[in-house]
Symmetry: C2
Subunit: 228 residues, 2 copies
DNA sequence: ACCTGAACACCGTTCAAGT
DNA sequence: ACCTGAACACCGTTCAAGT
């Protein structure tokens, strides 16, 4: 009655979970099915992961760890150094779109996520950013990666469903949504658009560092009142 | 045997779902519990919503619809006009953090989401952006709102858990994560930081429109190779 | 000491049986 | 014709009963 495959381990469970989600989506990832995939009962998994939540956290951390490359530290141009991480993260997530919501919304902070944050923070500090601005910069870079990628990752399925969206393409809703109707058919390459956003953010960070940001457009309650 | 409360309706179900999630979080929102909250059995809800998925989509659309204010169209400064929507969206989501993952990840496109997209697109077109750049601009603005807000929304719970994070604050991990240790204690106001990001993005959009963007940092596979 | 089958307390949704 | 209780096919997780 020895197990039909090699002994389980935390890493084998983790890898099987990633493979299962890659193959059949995040919804298909249940403890029961994951167990079946590994040739064991679901309960055996609890010997290696504390809970499904802990497993999801481990998956997130493994993915984020993949965004780091020790090699990047040798890039002397801080813009290129930041761009390298941002593009690697984007590629990583677009390769497994199911992971975006996990990475974007789980508050857990594992070593992978810490090393990723450290990489960005160090790049900014090395570039002469103050501690305060490096802190903001980390959040700006992280927010950009996640927000933009989440949006691109969720778009294909929208087109697949697309009852309303098709009407937009056909121009049937032109009177109600003239702006979208005018722009929706524009050429649209995900990687190209992401690269544009990366450059926009990095240029913005450079301007922040150098004190070249314009006056505020308005903060907090101000925006309710037109200020033109 | 008349129902103990007023007759159900799609809107009453929707409002109850929002209230339940507000009170007890998204995990507490089950059809059974939602029914109980309305004094009916879970199955009665299916008379007014096609499925739980459809209900979640309706919740998203109701929330996003709240980001629009007809008043904004009269703001002549396009920067202020964009900033108004971006700040309203942020406030709306920070008031119900459970909604961020829903809004950020659901691919459904309802009328609320369309009107929100139309507002941003029109603001950009009116400001002289080309159709192509307005299209990119919508994605840039939307990605910024969602990415940044998701990040801020997930942070409080991280601090609550915070085994590793506390060590960072204490400086115990200074040798492993020197950059984060140096920056983590910086003063940090969510609204202030978001306003910074909004201004950074709007300034970036203005520069895009005027053809003042710098040379690309690198796209696609290029980033794997140091280009400094 | 270790493992796991059955069980518990849930899900979303279906549908036949009731009125 | 309308409504809904019971049922189905799942969940994550516990724990006592087995070896």
């Amino acid at each position: 009655m020895t197990p039909p495959r090699d002994a389980l381990s935390h890493d084998r469970v983790l890898q099987a979970a990633l493979a299962l989600a890659d193959a059949h989506g995040l919804d298909a990832l249940s403890m029961r099915r994951l167990g079946a995939e590994l040739g064991v009962e679901a309960m055996s998994l609890y010997r290696h992961v504390a809970s499904k939540e802990a497993l999801l956290d481990a998956m997130v951390d493994a993915i984020v760890r993949g965004w780091i490359d020790e090699h990047d530290a040798s890039i002397t141009d801080w813009r290129a150094r930041l761009a390298a991480v941002m593009h690697r993260a984007h590629d990583s997530l677009m390769a497994r779109p199911w992971a975006v919501e996990l990475v974007a919304n789980r508050p857990s902070v594992g070593d992978g996520r810490l090393r990723y944050a450290e990489t960005i923070t160090t790049a900014l500090l090395d570039a002469g950013f103050t501690a305060q601005l490096a802190h903001h910069g980390l959040h700006i870079v992280d927010g950009t990666i996640m927000g933009f990628t989440a949006q691109q990752a969720r778009r294909p399925s929208a087109v697949a469903l697309g009852d309303r969206v098709r009407e937009l393409y056909d121009g049937a809703l032109a009177s109600e949504y003239p702006g979208i109707t005018r722009t929706i058919r524009e050429h649209h390459d995900h990687d190209e658009e992401y690269a544009l956003m990366v450059d926009l953010v990095i240029e913005g960070l450079a301007r922040l560092r150098d004190g070249r940001m314009p006056a505020r457009t308005g903060v907090g309650a101000d925006y309710a009142i037109a200020r033109a």
